[in-house]
Each structure stands twice: as structure tokens, then as C-alpha cells.
Symmetry: D2
């Protein structure tokens, strides 16, 4: 990693994700696996609330094709996590999100990315992003 | 509790549920919440594998109406859990399951129960148990 | 259940618990198991933030002896849950908490209870509640 | 990815990880986050059972520094997952594991990697791998 890590200012959208008791593992900090759950949560909440994605009945759904996380600092319940979201690539049927997790003081906890491929709910074959989803994601695309 | 706790012999069906790293909480043992996940797992695996319940497309689904657990002993990852299952009441549209969790040496970890109400997937109104589900559960009914 | 279910007004303490993507199960609503995770979270956050419980190094810890939940209505991600907390019994070394889960409109999702036994972290034998914990819980005791 | 994906034969160690009810998400397949839980589980179970890692009281613990997963196929509860493990790099205080997840028929579900940095439990500063851990991991190093 030769480029500097992004700061809070590099993410146009944020969602507060409070930790839960069972996020803490035996070593007293939030388990690495939960960081990916925070990714899933900030992404899908945005798609639903801003992009009108209908996860119950919509014809098109987003499935994860690849994800990655670099863990920079630990956090423990009951401290909240601030999840920042931006879009690194907005394709015809796929989206690459970039996520930054921060603590309440702005200290960075993790940096990751997550690729959604949009598919038809029944056939699970690639499908074009719904227009409302695309419109919601465009403002998050980084220069 | 005036009646003696049931032993392994009181459960006609068993499923081994290996623990996972993140089942352990900050106190070094499996978190109480996970015990209910074991309940869900032994029950639904039986309904699917023995009772032909189609969780993806079936018209009738089982939703939890009430559950309970008494925690008797701790266990920690990576030790496996042995989950025993029997049926305390088999109604027209509901089932009361009784679950015993044991360690590999037969020591009891927990005793619980769980009530499923079967409902129509769309309307979520009570529905009669599918015949294959009823047939699979009958041998588990306790005297 | 002959007595009426408690309302929001019956709980002196509340914590907002936003749902997460993976709380939703295959049936499109929050899985029953997660409700117990919300119990754990509202209880322990209160003990830590108001009662000074040191979950990392304190000599005394709370372990769950018994829990129960009656499920009244479904909720789905990304809607938040409002968790109400009160104390039904405050003993020398144990506490019975009563929890009500509500949606944002005040509709009740679930009603449950949870018994903590406080034990010595090393020996896991019952221990007297820390004074700061007792002081924090007293205002939550119901008449 | 120009090199061909590894097959089952490329992993010297395997652990069966049965899925659980709540691994399935709203789209009817195991949620992407759970794949990382399977990584954590196959790795740590091996370190504990083969490498004598004492997660309760040992001076040295392994914390995750980076992880990655490429999702190749879906699976759903109650089907079991077969998790293959090998070591891509065995350093003085860090280990890079490579994990392959397969279904019962040998079909590949996912391919990932996970970096553990071993640290002192108290100071959380890098520490040399315990000798028993190193001895257990050496046979898993790929050529």
C-alpha cells in the first residue's frame, strides 16, 4: 500500500452501526468477521433507503462476488462504528464499493472493498442495475 | 423445576453441531444467543431432511412464536455440541419442540423449548402442517 | 398470558438497536435468534455505561442462566428496533431483566426476560453484584 | 486471476463445517459474511487442536490483519461446507493462510486468504509464533 489511507472526508455517505455484545470475541474486541457484516449493512441500507432496492420482491438482487478488508485498529462493544461508503466503479451490472470504518473520534478501524454483481432473482444470471439504484450510487462515485 | 432434567436417552433424534470461532464471547465460552441458533438448526435441518420442508418455495413456513432456554453448563470452541430433539406437542398448525444440548461426554449444557407456528408464506396466517412434516415429527412425540 | 402485555411506558430505559443485513433470514424478517442478541446488547450496554461493569478485567462477570422470548410481530432490515429494559428482580447475585422490543411506531415486536447470575471471573462461582452495578439497576426495578 | 483456481487436492488439511439455519440470508443462500466465519473456524480449530494454541490463557494470540474472499458459487443450509487450508507464507510473527471452500461434491464455493499477526495478549505488540504453532503449520506450507 503506497498510497495514503483515505480519511473520513473521502467518503460521501456515512451510517452509524452500533456494536453488539456478541461482536466481541474471546480476545475482547470485535471479531474480524463482523467488519464484513458492517460492510453489508452500510451498502444494503443505502441501496434500500436511497436506491429503492426491494430485497423482498424485486426482480434484481445484488450478490457479493469478492470482498476484502485490511484491519487497522481494534474496537470493542459498546462503542459505535461509523461506516463510510463510496463507489470505486459503477458498471452495467456490477458495483465496486469502498468502505472505511472509523471510531467516534475519527480513528480508522478498517479499509475494505466489496463487489456486488446484480443478478436476476430467479435465474441468478447477471442483470442490468435498476435505474433507481444507479441514480442513487452515482453521487458516491469517486473522482 | 421439580422434575428431573431429561438425559440424552430422552431425545429420539440427534444432530452434531460443531462450534465456530465466533460463538465464543469475551468470557471465553459460547454466547447464550448461539444456543438458540443451535435450536433453530437442529429443528429446521430435521424438517428439511426428514419432513421435506421446502424453505425456498414451499407454501407453508414455520415461524417461531416462543422460545426458552435454561443454561446448565458452559462449552467453548472448538468443542462440538450434540443437539437432541423431541416433540412435546404436535398441533394442527403448531409444534412445540424440546431440545437438549450436550457435550461429547454426555454432560448437559442446556435444556430448552421452541414453538413453531406454521403459516402461509404470503399471508403469514396460520396454516395446517404439511403432511410430510407431520409424518416426520410423529415419531419424535414424547409419551 | 392473562395480564396485558406491557407497553413502551412500562420500560424506564431504552436503547435503539439498528438491524443489520444478515439479521434477516430466508423468510425475509429478522431471525428469532437475533432478538436474544438484542436482549444481550441492551442489558450489557447498560451495565457497562451506567453500572461501570468492566467486561475486560473486572473480577465479577454476568452469565446468562435462563432466557425467554415471546415473538409478537416481525420486523425486517433496515428498520431499527427500540429495546426497552426494566428489572423484575434484583437479588444478591442475580438479576432478572424484562425486555420489550418495539418498532419505531411503538408497535411491540417481542417480550422477553433474561436472568443474569453474577460470578467470579476465574472460579465461575456466584458472587455478589458489584455495588456500581446494583446502584445502576435499582432505578429500573418495577414496582 | 490468470492462474487456475486451486482444487481440493491443493489443500493438505480439511474440516467439515455444517451450515446453520441463520447462515442463509434473505436471498436463500449462505450470506457472504459467513464465509469469513468459516475461514476463522478452520484456521483457529487447527491452531488449537494441532498447534496447542491456548486461546484462553496463552501469552500469544493471533489477530487478523487482512482477509479476502472471492465467491464462486452459492450454497444453502442445511448442506455442509468442506473447508480446505494451506499456508502461503509462514513468517516470524505472521502467517498467510489460503482457504478453499467446497461443497460435498467437490464443487468450489470460494477461495480466500487470511493474514494472522501474532501478538502479545496484553501489549498487542507483534510476537514470535509459539513453537508448537509453527511446527503444526509447517506441513501446510505450499511449495
Amino acid at each position: 500500500m503506497t498510497s495514503p489511507a483515505p480519511s473520513r472526508d473521502d467518503y460521501p455517505h456515512f451510517r452509524t452501526i452500533p456494536t453488539r455484545w456478541k461482536d466481541n470475541d474471546i480476545y475482547g474486541h470485535v471479531n474480524n468477521v463482523e467488519y464484513y457484516s458492517y460492510f453489508d449493512t452500510v451498502i444494503n441500507a443505502y441501496l434500500i433507503e436511497q436506491g429503492g432496492l426491494d430485497i423482498h420482491r424485486g426482480e434484481t438482487i445484488g450478490v457479493c462476488a469478492e470482498s476484502h478488508c485490511q484491519f487497522l485498529a481494534a474496537i470493542a462493544f459498546p462503542a459505535p462504528v461509523e461506516a463510510g461508503l463510496r463507489v470505486g466503479h459503477l458498471g452495467n451490472s456490477s458495483v465496486r464499493y469502498e468502505i472505511g470504518l472509523f471510531d467516534s473520534d475519527g480513528g480508522q478501524l478498517a479499509e475494505g472493498w466489496f463487489v456486488h454483481v446484480f443478478v436476476d432473482r430467479e435465474s441468478r444470471r447477471p442483470a442490468v442495475l435498476p435505474e433507481t439504484v444507479r441514480a442513487a450510487l452515482e453521487p458516491l462515485v469517486t473522482a
